[in-house]
């Protein structure tokens, strides 16, 4: 990736203006992530019926010793560099007209990985679902569980409810997200 400079996750209203609705992690003062990976596991299970790093559209960066864990979720960039990089845009990668989220239509995904490589964030928020044959790899990306009336399953299944949606959050006193109603 050369000298690519990666973005920081947006927090302030000004920063958030460049991003669509996305899954955020609340301040530990509101709820501390227990590191159980339920978000990642249930994401994979509800999307694919299987769990693994490739098909979890949300990942957990575990502090090996600290036990402080950081959620790695797609920030749904308004300028969508992943979409722009896709050689099959509008067939393999599409934009949800309602949420603005970029989503993947696997039928047309050729598994080139350009979307993942062009993610603004490090680690990339787009994962690659591997297969026994390289040509059958597919990209996996958070689509906010589009079409699911329960909304994002990672948020639903978090036992300590430390995840939410960016539009429902504001910055707390510690500069981290808290739910609006809790401020």
């Amino acid at each position: 990736m050369g000298d690519k400079v990666y973005e920081k996750e947006p927090r302030t209203p000004e920063e958030l203006a460049g991003y669509g609705s996305h899954v955020i992690q609340y301040s530990p003062a509101y709820s501390f992530c227990a590191g159980c990976d339920s978000c990642m596991v249930m994401c994979g299970l509800t999307h694919e019926g299987t769990a693994g790093h490739g098909n979890g559209r949300i990942q957990v960066d575990h502090g090996t010793r600290s036990l402080e864990n950081h959620i790695l979720a797609c920030q749904q960039c308004a300028d969508h560099p992943c979409y722009d990089a896709c050689p099959k845009k509008d067939s393999a990668m599409k934009i949800d007209g309602e949420t603005g989220a970029v989503y993947i239509d696997e039928e047309f995904c050729i598994g080139c990985g350009l979307c993942a490589k062009n993610c603004k964030f490090q680690p990339s928020r787009i994962t690659m679902k591997k297969d026994r044959v390289r040509k059958q790899w597919k990209a996996a990306k958070c689509d906010l569980c589009r079409g699911n009336p329960e909304g994002p399953q990672c948020v639903k299944w978090c036992p300590v409810q430390c995840l939410g949606l960016s539009e429902d959050a504001v910055l707390g006193e510690d500069g981290l997200f808290v739910p609006q109603a809790k401020q």
Partner: protein
Amino acid sequence: MPNYKTADFLENPDNKEKLYGYCGKIARINLTTGAVSFVDTYAYVPKYLGGRMLINRLFWEEVAPGTKAFDEENKFFYMTGATTGCGIPAGGRSAACCVGASSNPEQYTWGNSGGWFGTELKYAGYDGFIIEGKAQTPVYIKIEDDKIEILSADDLWGMRVHQTQAAIEEKHGHDVKSMVIGPAGENLVRIASITTSNDFVFAKGGFGAVWGSKKLKAITVRGSGVVGPADLEKVKALRMDMNNPMMAPKPILHLEQAGLPGGFFPAKYDRGHAACSPGCNQHCHGLLMNGVTAFDDQRVNHVEKCVSGLTFNYTVDIGAPVGMFWPSKQNFSQPCKMLVQEFTEPDPSDPYFEEQGELLLPDILNFWGPDYDRGTIINDLCNDYGIDKWDAIIFILPWISACRQEHLLDGNDLGTGMEPDVENTAFIKKFFENMVYRKGYYGDLFAEGMSRAIAVLGKEKYGESVYHNRISQRLGGKKVALPVSEEAAWGHCMHWQGRGFEASCDKPTWLAMNMQNMLNTRDAQTVEHFHCKIEYHQEALKDPYHCPHVIEALIHTQNNAEIKDSLMSCEWQSPDLWWPEMESLMYQAATGYPVTPEELDEAAYRSKLLFRAILIRNHGRTRKMEVEQIWHVMQIPDSLNEVGDWKQWNEMVSLMYEARGWDLKTGWPYRETYEKYGLKDVADEMERLGLLPEHPAPDAPRWEDYGEEPYSKFVENWKQDTIVLPPQQK
């Protein structure tokens, strides 16, 4: 190659039952030859479920009698379960087994650990692995999907646990999962542990020393594949039904007192919480934030689990209500709710409300006073050297404290150059450093484990002298005798046995717990907290040695421990006495295999029989051996100054043996017992070895030749004592 979609494992020709949940293969890695081969998981499941049951079968087939912990022939088995990685609560845990180094004498030893390693191993395509042989020079094993490499660990050898983890992440990336040993394992310290992320460990078995003997410093894994349960809707239902998950925000707490109930003291610190494994719906470990460390000026977070709470203050033992072992349906709560301090509101309409809520006041043991930072350093020493906290906190340090108070260490610095004072952090650091690096006479001695060390020092003096500073709150503050050593059985220390550590239980409970400890050393061979429904409590109190409900509950407890260690699950989530289908639902959700609770119980009987056969064949287990092992504890008074009755205890042992289908004289299972659970081949082997008992003649009197009660120097010392209460008249 890992499984990348369900078709990959469903279309595996060996997967004849079309089971979900498993990967299908177990890696066999030989450190002597460098060879890697594979065992077909489906040759053993569903009959042996996975986890411990599968290990028991492999151990029986592969580890020959006479194999010692540090022999090249010793094998280390690591196994996940069908639920591992499937999003089923507690399923992320894993089991391991080998001839462990910690027990005395050495024997089959087991462990169950949390962490992320097991799930990652399944992502890489393996249900488990078997480590064989010995490397000539330090190595670590790197698993990345298909690629299994044995690499030089010359640069890792000598590092402490956290240094090793950091170095591995530096080499192979932050996302790699690892299990490592510290210097204690390298130096064959018999209480050395194996550590995975967040200080989750295989602690009790001395597995770290076994790895050290094999020159194995670490195993790393990274997998790109998937794990798939059979029924997502059942997984979801289990996630909501198992143990009432919080599903609500839980912030970091800013606390102003530390310690355990009865021993709280002022201390300002922040406390978070942590899950132990992927996909669990609980978070039952405490996270003590920003604490001091033992080796530098960093401040780091420490996980607090179970026994580590006593490091901060061991003045008072841990108390417990009757309902912890004798729960009522209306006020039943699984232990993880207690650990995470999410107590449900008591329901006073419960007819057993008062009985199950009675708090059995703990003894005052006076081993050390409160000091938050000192406790944090003790925990850090254990974590970073890679030694079992249980032995450090319950066996070593209380022994030093008791011996010093009894003037048994006058003029003896235990090789530290300072007074043996467990309230002096500098002494503790030096003592552990000597032990971990086997420095000097005492360092080398204590590296052999407390049981062996006390035997060398002289057990009558250093094990069985009376400690005079135990005070029974249940007897209104009277002094009750306790030996200076908390050794219980098989070289391990006491645990919910009515005296010593976690003594707050009544006689039916401590009889049951001692029976468990006699048959399968807690916690080096099982973790199983005795449970019996409260409606049988009064009957058990009337005749605790002969209560059929206690025997029935013991078998239920033991069998459920076998099941939870095989699915996998967790001692804090299983069993639920009022939801007997829970484990079968877990297995069905993971595999799609239609198993009933009765069939799971049958599998547990089978596995317990294999375990028994291993103890008999490999380690010479007999009734005489195990009754004598445990009897030492029963001669120590409980909090009411009561001791065990030799004849009645033997009668209880006989009831247990009969219920299991074992011979009363030898403690060995009969042929029909093996065959009933599909183990004819085991019966044949035991017969060939002369280890299959003959049934007594039909008209023969019931065997009752218990022999004389074994002599105890402690009892003799106690009888002569004038300060503590005299021995209770039986």
